[in-house]
Amino acid sequence: MSHSTLKNLSLAATMALAFASTSALAETTINIAGWGAKSGPLRSFGVNSEAVMKAAVARVNETGGIKLKDGSKAKLAFKYHDSACNAEQAIAVARKVASESNALVGIGPTCSGAAAAMFGVFQKKVGDAGDTGLQFPILTDTAVRNGLAKISQWTFRNTPNEPDMYDKLWAWVAANHPNLKTIYGGTETDQGHSNGTYSKVIVQAATRHGFKWSKGNIEGLSGKLASGFKNVLASSSNWLQADTNFSVQARAFRRSGADIYIISSHPFTTCGMLKELKRQRATPKLLIGLTSSSSQEVMKGCAAEAEGMIIPTSFAPITDMAKEVAALANKNGGDADLHSAAAWENVMIIKQVMESVGVTGQASMVQKERRMIRDGLEALTTTNGLIGKVTRVQDEGEALKPYVFVQAKAGNWVVIHDPR
């Protein structure tokens, strides 16, 4: 190779490199943050959310990225943090992301207890100069306990509305199983979601639809959300998240003679309780479970014992998009379920809001654009969900998501009622 050819090649390479670096400099990146339990016993929730979020961000970038205010396109990037299922850790992550990163919006956290505490450090009312709380928009995917988003005007959720779902579920049970009259149940009392949803939502909805507590009346229980909930808990047979022996509780269920058993807990103790019920030959006519148990973990752990259990859920692979997201989640090492699937929807909602309010991606505009995104989230009336349209409850920051009822049948969750 001659000296001049080498020289020309070097020149071409230098120009190519210079061009590439200029292009790279010109490419804007919009950052968002995600956080959830990636350590501790609820790690699978964070793993699933991250897997789905990763797939959603990749999809946004494959389809051109985020359209900026000036019409150019930016890549979307995300960083997922571990907040465990711990209030202090969730607060620390929120503070760190809000103050040390240029993320425009956050998605998370996993647990309702952590979310309730974390939302408490956000500015309560937008524009309140006397409130120095965090001014950073959050769109929660997982923490599902009723009514959390209204803690702050910066916090929004895209989680299923359990009061609505269980109300419709009990109406459906009353219509389709008119011979069933009595209920009895229990929950894991050290888990905020299981315990709160059980005593304030599920039993109340059953009462509203005419079902009777099998062991007589519970004082204060009227069917109104949270009425007499302490007495509901006291009258039930409960357990703790880490319990392994359910003999006393299962016997109480069996001796209750109820037509319908309510088991409001997460997969580990749901399986423990179901196994003990089977061992003690306790055979209800119907089993109702907690939304969070409509997962593959129950099918892996106790499919035979869960046979027949009915649960309302806001996610099932029943549309092409939902099937695709489920496959992508598996590819990324997670599972799409009613909690994690919301991470996909959230990324798409965030893209829609960013494009409608016109973000610039400039570092100097971060705080202003966070406020714009918050306002954009608040202004939404409907969004596209994986199994249908989601209605936003605007004054509360909550969502009314489409849902189906699934039943455990032969090792799978099968849709038995689709009111969409």
């Binding site: 339990a37 350590s39 501790g40 016993p41 609820l42 790690r43 699978s44 793993v47 009392t189 062991k215 006291a234 009258s235 047979s237 409960n238 357990w239 703790l240 998240q241 880490a242 319990d243 392994t244 022996n245 003999s247 006393v248 509780q249 016997r251 109480a252 001796r255 997969p267 580990f268 399986c271 423990g272 196994k275 061992r279 003690q280 030959r281 973990e297 892996k300 752990g301 106790c302």
Partner: protein, 295 residues
Amino acid sequence: MNFDHIDIVQSLIDGVLFGSVYALVGLGFTLIFGAMHKLNLAYAASSIAGAYIGLASITIFAVPTVIAFLVGPLAAGLVGLLIYISCFQFMPRNNMLAPLMASIGALFFIDELIIDKTAGSPITFPVLLPDAYFPVGEFGFRGDLLFVTFASFVLMGVIVFMLYRTKMGLATRAASQQPVASLLCGIPTHRTNSTVFVLAGVLGGVAGCLAAAAVGVLSPLLTLPLTVKGLIVAVIGGLGSIRGAIAAGFMIGALENLFLLFRGVNERDIYVFLVLFLFLVVRPNGIFGTSIDRD
């Protein structure tokens, strides 16, 4: 909660039977304490780790279930040995705090490792005698827990035999009571102690596998409750007392179920800890414990 005498007796039966799992874990704690006068807080974690490895042998190598019940204890024995080497062997003999803290570190290390490898998800464990339930009149006995109870008595017999009828047992007792003197007599105390850790580990592996089989699911959530209950059992039984651990295991299992029946799940553990507190105040050496002076 409404209940009658049948509930009370049945709760006692179930509690005593489930207490056999606590007895096995407490036995391991007490064995190690008896040998070294030090607590290995990673003991229950190593038992659960053994059960996970046993389960992995089924899922990865498709070995028969019975093999998993052999692999689990052997693996737990190996984990026990590693804990001895990493947390005890090189620590100064008179420093009680260092191995204790190191074993707490090992406990959380094992716990987090399990969570990382399993994504924290519960995994189905083969159930022993799933349909064995023996109704006797109004009462019923779980076949799997009867088996665990039987196993705990057999294991207690094996340990007592090894401690009192073998040379290794003689060396263990000597190293426990007079570590310096036994060293001067030529007893390899490190080898003796490591053997006790392996033996206790195997025992823990059996307990871990049996506990997982009784529950039907393995989860990282099992580690801390088994650690706490095992410790309570070992302390109430008298640290170092084998028969005390067995008796306290059954007792705590029974009391736990009675407290659950009478006071509900939220108060259950309050009363269990109250029992521990009462023992520490009234009978600090436990049911069968005796104080031993060391050199």
